[in-house]
Structure formats: C-alpha cells, structure tokens
Subunit: 162 residues, 2 copies
C-alpha cells in the first residue's frame, strides 16, 4: 500500500514560507508530469517550425544548412527532422530546395512566435537582462499555459514604456 491515501490536505498553500507544501493528490500530480511529457513531444517540432517561419520572414528562404547552424545540430539531424515535419503536414519541401510552411505550419509558427515573444517581453519587463531573457524564453515558452500567457501579457501592458 502506502499511497492510497489521497492527500486530502493541500489546502494551506499560498504561504511563502518555502517549507513543505504537501504532496498534491496522486491523480493531479500524475497529470502534471503527463502535461510536461506531452509538451516535450511537441516542443522540438514547434521550435523547428518557428525557426523556419523566422528564416522565411527574415531571409526569404529556409535552407536546411541554416537551420542546422542555428539549431547547433548536424545537417543529417535536420534532414531527418524535415522528413517528419513533412509527414506531419507542416512543411512542404522538394529535395535540395528551400522549405515552405503549409497553412498549418504557418499557424503553428505564428502561435509559437507569439508565445515566444510574450514570454521574452515579459521577462524583460520583469527586469531580466536581454541575454538571459532570450535563453530562458526559449526553454520556457512551451510550458506556459494560455492563462499564464494572458497574465504575462497584461503585466507587459501595465509595465510598458509610454
């Protein structure tokens, strides 16, 4: 046994005392981890799509070599990944040609970019220096819910320079 109590007492949170918030109820706890695992499955995909969108926008084309350099991985890895993106219907690609995003890919790129921007601007508004903000935003963006994102946006608006 040992875990079939359902931890009924998670009430007294919200204290900052940093001490021991009780363990969340089992089911909820499991769902938290599951959410993170799911995010991991999509986040690389989103990163690629977002980067491809950025390259298309800022450079007019997205070549595998550029992606490899910017992501810091080998071309082989990128090539493999592009096949997956293709199968997922996110990009179209003729061999040895620049990539393009499908409609769905574009939607994903926009969404990702928007999330990314909000998180980045939020961190800067919070007082985080630009360099750190960029790094943290890259990691955080896939784990921020829409609710939190909305709150971040509000925070940015309130703290924006006039």
């Amino acid at each position: 046994m040992s875990d079939h109590d359902q931890s009924p007492h998670l009430s007294a949170s919200s204290r900052n005392g940093n001490s021991g918030d009780a363990l969340p109820p089992v089911g909820e706890h499991a769902r938290q981890y599951e959410t993170v695992r799911n995010a991991h499955e999509t986040e690389l995909i989103e990163d690629y799509v977002e980067l491809i969108g950025d390259l298309l926008q800022h450079r007019g084309e997205a070549r595998a070599a550029d992606i490899a350099t910017r992501m810091g991985v080998s071309q082989a890895t990128v090539s493999k990944m592009i096949r997956r993106l293709n199968e997922l219907g996110l990009v179209t690609s003729k061999p040895y040609r620049s990539l393009f995003l499908t409609e769905e890919g574009q939607k994903m790129a926009e969404t990702s970019r928007a999330r990314h921007d909000i998180v980045l601007h939020f961190l800067r508004a919070l007082g985080v220096d630009d360099h750190t903000a960029r790094i943290d935003a890259e990691g955080m963006e896939h784990h921020v819910s829409n609710d939190t994102l909305a709150i971040m946006q509000r925070f940015i608006d309130e703290h924006a320079k006039p």
Copy 2:
C-alpha cells in the same frame, strides 16, 4: 552561403510592438537551443530526485510503486530509471527495498525543490490560479536561470501578504 552574415543589428529590442525582433546572431542562437537540449537531459533526473526527496520527507519512504503512480508511468520505467540514478550516484537502493538519496542526491533534491517553489510562488504572486500554477511550474522550473529566479524571488517578497 546565405547565413554568414552575423546579424549585427539586434539592438532595437525592448519594444513591445510584438513584431519581428531580428534573428539573433547565429552562434548565440545555437547556444540558446543547446542550453535547452542540455536542460532536457537533466530535467527528468531532477524530477525523479525531487519527487523521491518529497516522498521521503512526507511519507518517510520512497517506493518504486509510489513514484510510478505519481509520475504516471509504469513500474518498469521507474525501475529502469532508478538504476540510472544509482549509476549517477544520486540514490542508494537495495533490491526490493525503499530508496534513499545520497548526499549529492539530497543536494539536488533541495535545489530542485527550491527552484520549483520559487517558480510556483512567483506564478501565484503574479495572479495565476493555483492549479495552473502547479502545472506550469512543473514544466518551467528547469528552464529558469538563476538570475531570473532571483528576480522572481524579489517579486515574491515585494508582493507577499504582510
């Protein structure tokens, strides 16, 4: 070619206009992604260690079955993972017995817990509801730098109920 310009112009940021922050310089961009990849390698480990620490503290013991239930994965997965934690010198375990953390494991558990708590309390202080805050914190905690963490802590202090 196509990417050997080093994007010298990232200066004009900080505007919230949400439009197109130019691409970061290649090297820096690659380092951002690398940081995220590295974080991914450690984050599962940290989650396990943190959870084991929590179970030890709140339950007095950490059994594989509990971990499996709370993480929402199979016991086999946990068993395999425990072997890794063992090899990494983070836990000690005699077969078919409860786990314990090594000194190093305890240090990691404490650090992880502290990060987690700061992120969680920060989100709540920001106005995110408890349930969402828990989920987001679980995903975010591994991607928040010490600098940002310090700023979050300051924010919490400033917004704490008296």
